[in-house]
């Protein structure tokens, strides 16, 4: 064995720095893809990172001898390559060669290949980084505990550090900063002997990093996103850009913006919107000013409905954003307005830097602004309100299901129950939605409200719900007490004056529902009748309707996921199969990503292993054990990220907390496992503990989350640690124990079986990230946990059988 001259302390520091950067880079990529494309690539990035690690493992096992012989010379080089690729990867991904657009994926084959190529450039830093880490582990196997610890702690810090850094740096610059950290970790590994040889390389890398830091790529936001379309309009200017973990905010000024949901055809004037805010390139809201007449249209909108029937002296505006509904409430004389908006950056911009853009409404004495998540606020609020206002759902014309995978906890049945409990006796919940076709959003929201009322014990639903429509907007009102005659008369008069149609209204004729704004497909009205009927009628409609209009719940919070696979054939008869993708791009992409990742994982992890063939005994055990623990681990990680998104209110925070805590705890677990003998008996006990933990999660996680959601962020992090750390500690043990078990066997095939075990674990972890999301969308979170427990049980059984 050739001795390595690299000092172990330097190696530890290097591994820690490298690990910080790799995890931070992973979260940064999620953020960048959410900006340039949409949110649904988050799970693809997790798979890509794992794929890089898996491929490195396979590569290492195939070329171990050669790599170890040249370790001192190669190690800094591998890290420097990771640094360079990390620095250029974002710029490269924005070039025409690699740039893909979600909308174009289903129009043009070359965009599918570009997506495929994007995986490759993003996985390379993970591949080279993991190769360096893996080589160190293999070379310094006697001190693996220390290095593994450095790796895990570094990764844990990386997850948290990136969230802090996102407040300070724009994403495109952050990638270069992280690569500078990788560069440092490579630099300290260069021993004296190779310094001269590396001088040119170092100079080149420094020059490159400096260049990319000074010339960061401009992120090409999809041309189909609202911001890009707005910037195409003449004379449009960006007033301000701010970045934070909540996303990239743009304040834009344009003379051509118009926004007036639910506007009556009788409105005679213009609606002037001079400024607007965008988050991650998507419309966030208009910035309205009374001085520019941009609020005058409001009494001509269906959204005026809550003010038609009564005065609203206290109002709760959830996700108040740019303050549009707050301004309406102020205009209508509300004395106490509680605005709840979680995005701190947007709020700071509108309170401190540009208050004049929204008439300083957030600084008004009547307004009390809470910078928390709406669900958190609902659970902690003690006040009751005359009006609870929720922003209009979806975007005009739809979003092609770009948000099918985004959890929307504000629109679940449980959330509406919380809102209902905060209403005064004459209080109302008001929500509007664009009318789409085939009908989806309006039916789902009415179904959600109907079920909420039903479960609250209200049987006569039509006495509590009313809804009116213009040609493209449906506004729904839910009142705590029954709607009284005078209120109904006011609504009726308002509809007549504005040429709106009341569609949910006691005693209304079918003809009046469809008078001013006619629908060719009149089934809309009969569906609404069914939804407002009995639970049996609703259930029948949910199962027979070609789209998923069953209310979203905290267990399945995918409010915008409508496509049912069993309806595909029926839909194909009317739409071409390619048009079908545009019903729900996010959802279809999930499956497309799954197959592409599976293919890549096979090519990069399994195919090279075929070269060394799979010899020896216990093949079935290796397959079941390593696939089970790979799948189980990633399923638990994904489910915790998703569950804690409700807890922390933001996926980046949630992913950072979950990934960091799990890695650190598993790192410790792995460290401790070094002291344990790799015996079947011990493995069985450890996996049993994990399975029991998952079952406990299954039973109490939701309750615990709900009970502690109201606390401040530091306390929530402590709660999250208590929940995550113990099982994650044990989850770090089965993999090293399994590998050591193989290594210790008095079997000549051990050297061949370890790479296979590594490869099998890799492929199941890689595909697990996407498949966990598939299970969550299709069946709900509970089933992801059941699958996770099942995967670990499989690993357990494999040991029992082998015994």
């Amino acid at each position: 064995v050739i001795h390595s001259e690299i000092h172990p302390l330097k190696l530890s520091i290097s591994i820690a720095l490298l690990s910080v950067s790799l995890i931070a880079y992973q979260l940064l990529l999620i953020q960048i893809l959410s900006i340039v494309q949409w949110y649904h690539f988050a799970y693809m990035i997790i798979s890509v990172a794992l794929l890089g690690f898996g491929a490195a493992g396979t590569f290492l096992s195939l070329f171990q001898k050669w790599l170890l012989e040249k370790l001192d010379a190669l190690l800094p080089g591998l890290v420097l390559i990771a640094s360079v690729i990390m620095a250029v990867s974002i710029s490269l991904s924005q070039t025409d060669l690699f740039y893909f657009d979600s909308y174009r994926l289903f129009n043009d084959l070359k965009f599918l290949w570009k997506l495929f190529a994007t995986y490759l450039i993003f996985l390379l830093p993970f591949f080279f980084g993991a190769l360096a880490i893996g080589l160190t582990f293999t070379k310094k196997v006697e001190k693996i505990g220390v290095f593994y610890f450095a790796n895990m702690v570094g990764s844990g810090i990386g997850g948290i550090a990136v969230v802090v850094l996102m407040w300070v740096f724009f994403p495109e610059k952050l990638a270069v900063l992280l690569s500078a950290l990788v560069f440092l970790s490579g630099l300290i590994l260069i021993i004296k002997k190779y310094r001269t040889a590396y001088t040119i390389v170092i100079t080149f890398v420094i020059a490159l990093l400096t260049y990319f830091y000074l010339n960061p790529p401009s992120l090409k936001i999809s041309e189909y996103k609202g911001l890009s379309k707005t910037l195409d309009l003449p004379g449009t200017e960006i007033i301000e850009t701010e970045s934070s973990p909540y996303g990239l905010i743009h304040l834009v000024s344009s003379s051509y913006l118009r926004y007036a949901p639910g506007l009556s055809l009788t409105y005679p004037d213009q609606v002037l919107v001079n400024n607007a805010a965008f988050n991650n390139g998507e419309w966030s809201g208009p910035l309205l000013q009374t001085a520019k007449d941009s609020l005058y249209y409001f009494p001509f909108s269906t959204e005026y409905l809550p003010y038609v029937i009564d005065n609203r002296s206290s109002a709760l505006i959830l996700n108040s954003g740019t303050g549009r509904y707050v301004q309406y409430a102020v205009l209508e004389g509300a004395e106490s307005i509680r605005a709840v908006e979680p995005d701190k950056t947007l709020i700071q911009l509108l309170i401190k830097k540009y208050p004049e853009l929204i008439d300083s409404v957030y600084n008004s004495s009547a307004v009390d602004l809470k910078n928390v998540y709406p669900r958190t606020y609902l659970l902690s609020a003690e006040l009751k309100f005359d009006l609870i206002q929720i922003p209009i759902i979806d975007a005009f014309g739809g979003t092609s299901g770009m948000y099918a995978l985004q959890e929307q906890y504000l629109l679940t049945k449980e959330s509406f129950k919380d809102m209902y409990s905060k209403l005064k006796n004459d209080g109302v919940i008001c929500i509007s939605t664009w009318i789409d076709y085939p009908y989806k959003n309006p039916l789902k929201i009415v179904a959600t409200l109907a079920e909420m009322l039903d479960e609250t014990g209200i049987k006569d639903l039509t006495s509590h719900i009313t809804a009116i429509k213009n040609w493209n907007t449906l506004t729904v009102l839910v009142k705590k007490n029954k709607l009284i005659k005078a209120e109904l008369e006011n609504i009726s008069a308002f509809c007549k004056e504005m040429k709106f149609d009341p569609v949910i209204f006691p005693g209304i004729s079918e003809e009046r529902k469809d008078f001013y704004n006619k629908l060719q497909d009149k089934s809309f009205y009969s569906y609404l009748n069914l939804i407002l009927g009995s639970q049996q009628e609703r259930e029948k409609l949910y199962s027979e309707y070609p789209f998923n209009i069953r209310p979203a719940a905290d267990n399945r919070p995918y409010y915008s996921q409508f496509l049912k696979w069993e309806s595909v054939e029926q839909l194909s008869e009317s739409y071409s199969s390619l048009t079908l993708a545009f019903f729900e791009i996010g959802y279809v992409l999930l499956y497309l990503t799954f197959f592409q990742i599976l293919l890549l994982a096979f090519i990069l992890i399994i195919l090279p292993l075929l070269k060394i063939r799979w010899k020896g005994k216990n093949k079935l055990w290796i397959l079941l054990y390593f696939s089970g623990i790979g799948l189980g681990y990633i399923f638990i990680e994904i489910i915790l990220i998703q569950r804690f998104t409700l807890y922390f209110g933001n996926i980046i925070y949630s992913a950072a907390a979950v990934v960091s805590l799990m890695l650190i705890a598993s790192g410790f677990g792995s460290l401790v496992s070094q002291r344990l003998k790799p015996e079947s008996r011990r493995i069985i006990v450890i996996i049993s503990i994990i399975v029991v933990s998952v079952i406990i999660y299954l039973l109490i996680l939701s309750l615990l989350i709900k009970a502690t959601i109201v606390y401040s962020l530091p306390i929530k992090i402590i709660f999250a640690s208590i929940l995550i750390v113990p099982p994650a500690f044990f989850m770090g043990m089965p993999f090293p124990l399994g590998l050591r078990f193989l290594a210790l066997k008095n079997d000549s095939s051990a050297g061949n079986q370890i790479p296979w075990a590594w490869g099998i674990n890799g492929i199941f972890s890689v595909t697990g990230a996407v498949s966990a999301t598939i299970v969550a969308v299709e069946f709900g979170f509970i089933w992801v946990m059941i699958f996770a427990a099942g995967a670990y049980l499989l690993a357990l059984l494999s040991n029992l059988v082998r015994n």
Binding site: Y103, F106, N107, D108, L109, K110, L112, E223, Y224, K225, K229, D232, L233, P234, Y256, R258, Y259, A260, P261, L263, L265, T266, Q270, V271, F396, G397, G398, S400, I435, D436, Y437, P438, N470, W471, N472, K499, Y516, N517, K518, L519, Q520, D521, S523, P546, W565, E566, E569, Q570, L571, S574, Y575, S577, L578, T579, L580, F582, F583, V588, Y591, L592
Partner: protein
């Protein structure tokens, strides 16, 4: 049931790949056969000034290349338009006549007659032929009509209307799209299309009132000036949807002081 679902998912995903692959393959084959496509087409157009309709409906000396496109157009009308129930003869004639391949970006010429919208840049698309046909047939244009179009885009919808009516006025807010569509109108020989680069919100007061208004640019509310500029009994049509999928069409009818809207569901899915 789960198994069936998985099979569905698998086949659908496979289908996307296969269809896209076949498009790519057909492109390669066509490029290989012809060498040049699209902008290099050798069509020669002859203009005549009278009578009135011939001034806009061009006769052409066709090349073999055009024969191919004419065949594609006829197939498009038969398969994508007629089969879906549109039998408005002027619309069908116009769609058969307008060289759609001249209104798509040069790299997409060989997909011009596919049953789908195509990207034209700036987040915009040239609509699926069926949508253009449906919109045109709903407003039921007459030869003497004056039609206003908001959102010229590729210029294809204006060209189809120009084959039927007296004059088409079209407004495009994005300067680059206005320039490219104006160039195409000139190249193909449409003299009864008047276009300008402006904000369509205000309509075109100078030429108002209009018999019909086609709003091809998505509008979340109907601009009051457009309602004013619509003749009594006039019709306005607005497509609603996402970039590559029109979900429905909104017809606005002005009857005296009253205004009515009607949502046309394009595919009548579940009946």
């Amino acid at each position: 049931m789960v198994k069936n679902k998985m099979i569905n998912i698998f086949f659908l995903t496979l289908l996307f790949w296969l269809i896209n692959s076949s498009y790519a393959l057909s492109e390669m084959v066509e490029h290989g056969n012809n060498g040049t496509m699209g902008n290099h087409s050798e069509t020669i157009f002859q203009y005549s000034i009278t009578p009135k309709f011939q001034s806009r409906c061009l006769t052409s000396v066709t090349s073999p290349q055009d024969d191919k496109y004419l065949k594609a157009r006829k197939e498009m009308v038969a398969e994508q338009i007629k089969k879906r129930g549109i039998d408005h003869q002027p619309t069908l004639k116009a769609l058969t006549k307008v060289p759609r391949h001249k209104f798509v970006p040069s790299d997409l010429v060989n997909r011009a007659y596919y049953d789908r919208p195509l990207p034209i840049g700036y987040g915009q698309t040239i609509s699926q032929p069926y949508i253009v046909g449906y919109m045109t047939s709903i407003i039921n244009p007459e030869p003497d009509d004056k039609v206003l179009e908001i959102g010229t885009g590729s210029g294809y919808q204006a060209a189809v209307l120009a084959e039927i009516v007296d004059t088409v006025y079209t407004i495009e807010i994005i300067t680059e799209l206005h320039k490219s569509s104006s160039k195409k109108f000139k190249e193909v020989g449409y003299k009864n299309i008047v276009s300008k680069n402006a904000d369509g919100y205000f309509g075109w007061e100078k030429y108002a009132p209009f018999d019909a208004i086609v709003v091809t640019a998505a509008s979340e509310y109907i601009p009051p000036p457009l309602i004013d500029q619509l003749k009594d009994g006039g019709k306005m049509i607005i497509p609603v949807g996402t970039p590559f999928m029109t979900q429905m069409l909104v017809l606005v009818e002005k009857k005296g002081e009253e205004i009515f809207t009607k949502i046309y569901s394009l595919y009548n899915l579940f009946h």
